[in-house]
Symmetry: C2
DNA sequence: GTGACACTAGACCGCGCGGTCAAGACTGGT
DNA sequence: ACCAGTCTTGACCGCGCGGTCTAGTGTCAC
């Protein structure tokens, strides 16, 4: 698409994306019709196709936006932190907080993975994120702070814990993000740190 | 539905479920039409609606089947094992092996979670699985083998690692299930075991 | 005030979908 | 041999979808 947009136009576009994201997350992509989206905003169908060339494009745009936003949040969170392990834990905390603040994003991702035409775009963003995280893991291993195992496996173990706990405890059960973050960090560190650990007594 | 089925009928029904599961996983639920399914099997449309009252019912049936099969596999894997920690690790290994043997199931689950009308059925099965696993975690905590934290958090941490590693390394990268299982178990145990652990040296 | 263009409305279109149905073929029990 | 009931065929239906298009209206630069 890419049109010249006045401030008013930008506002409309954002409205459409925000509302559609909510509906997609709630009801699913296919079950949410373009008609439903424009009706929900009380506008005509022409508005939709002025800003997006198709429903598919809208979805991809929402996905891209969310991935960029998460990445920006993570970068800000670890900015200025030197210790690689702290960078990792801060990243985890930031991700979980972001998850709590953008609840519908999870469903969108899950859906995108199930359809051939959305999977590539999704995967691309996730690979970028995984590479970011893996760099810190590798740094931590090099510094002797994390046990010397395949960084890819460690990284994805961390990502797995983080996303799953986000879904179950933040998304579904509504627990506060910081509590879940504490638990996630504890789990990850005790599985990852090479330093000694006190046994919890028998 | 529930019809009286002759052996021939049961065979057809299985064919339909197997083929549909493959197409759903490959292309998505909505993008796979009933017409496509029956054409793929070279039969008429009436066949489909003889065995299933709707496309939706078919999907739920596939989901239920898979969940039952996984659960059966897990039960068999831990049968006769006493030590709760070993039960957990055996469960992890069995799950990952099952994942490798039933690659398309993952996509189905991911999709089911994104649509209001499938989510309940999915969640129900997952809660059963989580409760199963949690019992062993609680046993392990009681035995002093696992550190004394919220069993739900520990359990879901384990499930998160397991499913995520399955998706990335088995599903996407095609690594052998037993290798991934070793890594998953190592990650989980070092994050969970209360017993002493040797530092990996600095 | 006027022209240029960003923006909006909503009737309309064709397609392909999920689902139906009437007619008949196959199969096994008796 | 026959019948009851399982199984199969494929033309058909109506609906609702994504997407189009025309006739506008709002807005701002000059």
């Amino acid at each position: 698409m890419a049109r010249r947009l006045t401030p008013r136009g930008k506002e409309r576009r954002s409205q459409l994306m925000a509302f559609a994201a909510e509906r997609f997350a709630e009801n699913g992509y296919h079950t949410t019709s373009v008609a439903e989206i424009v009706e929900g905003l009380g506008v005509g169908k022409g508005v939709f196709y002025w800003y997006f060339s198709s429903k598919e494009e809208l979805f991809l745009e929402i996905l891209k936006d969310a991935q960029q936003d998460l990445r920006r949040t993570q970068r800000q969170a670890i900015d200025g932190i030197e210790d690689p392990v702290e960078r990792i834990t801060s990243g985890i905390r930031a991700s979980l907080q972001w998850s709590a603040d953008h609840r519908h994003y999870h469903s969108l991702v899950q859906f995108a993975a199930t359809e051939e035409r959305f999977a590539p775009a999704l995967r691309k963003g996730q690979e970028v994120a995984a590479r970011d995280a893996m760099r810190h893991v590798s740094d931590a291993i090099a510094a002797g702070a994390v046990r010397d195992a395949d960084p890819a496996l460690i990284t994805h173990g961390i990502l797995g814990i983080t996303t799953h706990l986000a879904r179950v405890f933040i998304h579904d059960l509504g627990k506060p993000a910081d509590e879940v973050a504490d638990a996630a960090v504890a789990f990850v560190l005790d599985g990852v740190l090479a330093a000694d650990r006190q046994p919890t007594a028998a």
